[in-house]
Structure formats: C-alpha cells, structure tokens
Point group: C2
Chain length 313, copies 2
C-alpha cells in the first residue's frame, strides 16, 4: 500500500493531476513544496515524486524509501557518492524529446534562414532577396542518442538530413546512419554541419567538447548544447567563435547556472544563449509519467527509466 510524497515547487498542480487519476492501492498522498514542510509530514513514505534538488534534502529522513521518480532528466543532485543508493531512482524520459527537438530545429532553422539578419533588413526598409540556406542534405552529429537524441534523429531525417551518432556503446536508434563510439570521437565530428550535444553530466562526458573537437568542424558549422554545460570546454568554445573557426553556437546549459555576470559568453560573437529553458517541464507530462510508473510499482513491477547510479543516467 504505497505512501507517496510529492515534493516539488509545482506540488499543488501535481496533487490535482495525481488525485484525478485515482491511483490504485494508494494509502497516503502528501505534498510539500520544500524539504522542511516535507519533514513535518512524517517519515513513512516509500515513494517520492519531485525535483532532485529538493529530494536530496529528505533522502536521509525516509527509512522506508523504495522509489524516487524525478521530474528531471538529469538527476545529478541525487548522484553524490555520499548519498544513499538503496532505492530505485527513475528519471523523466520520453517526455523531453519533442520539446528538445522543437528547440534544436527551431534554432537550426533560424540559422539557415538567417532570421535575425532578415529582420534587420526589414527594420531598415530593405527588400533583401538574397538566398537562404536549407537543412536538407546537411549532416547532424548527435553526441548522445538516448530517448531525446532519438527524437532529434527522427526530426533530422524528416528534414532530409543525414545523422551520425556518438554513444558509449548503444546503437538502438534506427534513424542514425553511422555510429561512433569511444576513441572515434574526432572521426565522428569531422565535417559535420551541425553538432548537437544531449549528453548528461558524468565523469566521462566532462569537457568532451573541446578544442580538438571544434578543430574537426568546418567553419560554417553550428554547435548546440541542450545536454549539460559541463560537457563543454567553455574557453575553447569562446576561442572557436572568436576566431571564426565555428560559425555559431546555441547554448541552453552552462557549467555554472545562472551564468555569472562576468562570464565571457555574454560578449562572445555568434553565440545565442537561452537559459535552461529548452525543454520546459510541463506538470501534465510529468504527472502522466509518474502515474504510469506508479501503476507498475503498485502491481509489484519495476518502474520504467531506472537510473544506473554508476553511469549517472
């Protein structure tokens, strides 16, 4: 008989959505928007659903904990070696792919269609009939091809692009035309038109995108990061953009967030930044994911999207 704690800034919205689902066998449902409020609700919860950053602070106070469903794809706050790992941790997968795809291809199309330049012409009252580019026939390289990367690959295919994938080992996405692993990173990057990272923050991915990788890209290439900021050697990216060895970059994530006011990115040319907003967490999506996983859990089945604490995703 599950006892569920919802610990989230959107706890009220989640409560409404979860209650509407009339979860089977539910013994207790309590909600809190911060860890101290959660402590006051008791310590008998076996299930927690919410933000990893908040859940981290209650981990030590829940002796019966068996399952945590994170509302995020990245679960770094729960991966510190000092923290317990004696429960099932599931993350948000299959939720963000479509949103990430909108973001990535929106910005790739913005680049090819030169939307900012066209608008500049419009503001000057200038009929600018110069040709624009196209995605068709270009090659996209995906650093990381999990549930998000697979949706990106499908969208690339829809737009007539070729797709390469770089992963630890998996080759599970049918829309990727060529696979690369391990030491073949530079081969993977060679002559890509677009390089997109969806990699998580792990020891292996730290500063994987560095000067040697940028050196493989043609001067017209565009780099997009929607994974984690730690994957990028940030000074190397500034250098590549300032020297014109890379045409543009679009970043949604950074090593330090919010980006410090003195960071060179604020004044780096041909860099577009958004602020960790590429895939907004819509409560309806995440509640649905939780509800589906809860039904499995209540039947004694393992929930889906279990994180491997060693791999970190």
């Amino acid at each position: 008989m599950p006892r569920v704690l919802i610990l989230s800034k959107s706890a009220g919205e989640y409560q409404t959505l979860v209650e509407a689902a009339s979860l089977p066998r539910l013994e207790k449902l309590a909600v809190a928007t911060d860890p101290s409020a959660a402590h006051a609700l008791g310590d008998d919860f076996d299930v927690v659903f919410g933000e990893p950053s908040l859940i981290r602070k209650v981990l030590g106070h829940l002796p019966h904990l068996r399952w945590v469903q994170a509302t995020w794809a990245g679960v770094e706050p729960l991966l510190a070696p000092s923290l317990r790992r004696d429960y099932l941790l599931t993350n948000a997968r299959g939720v963000f792919g479509g949103l990430m795809s909108e973001y990535v291809f929106g910005y790739l199309l913005q680049h090819e269609r030169r939307m900012f330049e066209r608008f500049h012409a419009q503001q000057e009252g200038r009929w600018d009939a110069s040709l624009t580019g196209t995605l068709r026939g270009k090659t996209l390289g995906l650093l990381g091809v999990g549930s998000i990367g697979s949706v990106l690959a499908a969208t690339a295919l829809h737009f007539g692009m070729g797709v390469r994938g770089y992963t630890r080992a998996s080759e599970s996405c049918p829309d990727v035309g060529a696979w690369y692993h391990g030491s073949r990173l530079l081969d993977f990057a060679r002559s890509l038109d677009f390089l997109v990272s969806v990699l998580p923050n792990t020891k292996e991915t730290r500063h994987l995108v560095d000067a040697s990788l940028f050196a493989q890209l043609p001067a017209w290439a565009v780099f997009v990061n929607v994974g984690r900021g730690s994957v990028v050697d940030e000074p190397a990216l500034v250098e590549a953009l300032e020297t014109g060895n890379l045409a543009a970059a679009v970043l949604d994530v950074f090593e330090q967030e919010p980006l410090p006011p003195a960071h060179p990115f604020w004044s780096t040319p041909n860099l577009l930044m958004t602020f960790h907003t590429s895939a907004p967490s819509f409560p309806a999506d995440l509640a649905q994911l939780f509800i589906e996983n809860y039904r499995r859990y209540a039947k004694g089945l393992s929930p889906l999207h279990v994180v491997d604490f060693k791999k970190g995703y």
Copy 2:
C-alpha cells in the same frame, strides 16, 4: 526528336545539369538568359524550360511549341487570357515542399520559443528563465493542401500538432485531420493557433484572408503566408495586428513585390517579413524535375504536374 530551349537567368547552370543527364532522343539544346537572345536561336523549339516571366515573352514566336516546364510553382505570367494555351504547361511541384516546411516551422518555432525576446535578454545580460511555448498539441490550419501543403501537414504531425485543411475539393493528404471546403471557410479558421496560406493567385483566392477570417482566430494566433500576396486583404491584416487581435504574422509574399517603400507593413507591429525567399529555387532540384519530365515527354507520355489553365494551378 525534341528541340529544347532553356530560357532562364540560370541558363548556364541548367545547361550543365541537363547535358550531364544525356537526354535521350534530344535533337537540339539551346540556352538563353533573356527573350531577345532566345529569338536569335530560332523558332523550331517544341520544349521550353525556364522562368514563366521570361517564357511569356517568347510564347508568340514558337509555332511548334508543345510543352513548357516552369521553374516556378506559381505560373501567373503564363495565365493571362490573351496568351495562347495550346501547349502543355507543367509547373514545379514536389520541389518546394521541404523548403517551405523549413521556413514555416522555423518561424512557428521562433514564435513559440520567443527567439528575438531571448536574444534581447541575452544582450541585456539577463538570465531569462521564463517558460516558452510549444507546437505540440496546437492546431495548424492549411489554406491549400497540394504538394506543398502536404509536406507542411506531415511536419505538423511530426511535431505533435493537429491539422485542418481548406481546399476547393481535394482531400488527398492523409495527415490532415479535418477537411473544409467552399463556404466552410470560417468554420475552418475558428480557434486555429496557426493559419498558413499556400494558396496560389487565382480569382477565387483573391483576398480570401480578410477581416472576417481574422475575427475567427484567437488573439494568440499567428498567420503565415508563403503562397501568394493577393490572397490577403492587406489593410485587414494591418488592422488585426495593430489592434492585437492577431499575435503575429510572417509574410514572404505581397500583393506588390518588391514591397513599396511607403507600404504600412514596414511599420506594422508583430509582423515579420521575408522577401519571397521562403523556397529558393535550387537549379539542381529543378533540373532533376525537368529531366524526369523530359524522359516522359520523349517516350510520348504526358509530363507530370500539368497546370489547368482554368484553375490557374
């Protein structure tokens, strides 16, 4: 034994591409970049491939003309009632769908992701973590569902949108969820999130997009025109944008092109303009279309994509 005239500003490129295809049964291939140069090449051509605006000026001098392949989708210059219609006119179809799709969805994504606003925040050094919108779950209405509209419908489906189609009579695209015809125009438009016109310039389409149509759209709706400018009642569009009854418009085509310097569009709020560049004509695409159609013609088959002079497309 076909005698082919290529009459195009890109005649040299087309010549190279067509010659490389070693067309069967070809008796004569001549190229010109303007009508007066064409006249000097003789009057025995039965096939002309090129821009409708140029071909119009040689129509009266080609007694053996049997087939014209236009490099454009819209063939208005050849439709004037005073011009001969005793030949097969084929237009460029199946070429522009992917490019139009890049344009339309690029701008829809730009709107949902508020790219200009985000860039403004970046320029101000401001970490703007406010939520963005999404295409998923929204409804796209297509005015015109031919070869271009069908690609737009497929892309909309890929992004999780619903699609309505308004056509004269055809219901041939499987990705359209609901069809509307004739007098059901206002029902079609009611509550659409995005209205996209790919309609050609015909008597029936003139000013079809008017104040009564805009009145059916919610205040957050966006209108995109990649068809022909004559479809839009331009003062009604200015009014809808100025009063905030329409959130934004993106126009690639206009009643008069280039847009006159005094036109109110240059200062209309929430209007993004491009300059008849949504689907660039890449010679390689159009040469391929011509070559395929030529092979049919040389075998005595009818070429594909024949224009109905009465319908105008």
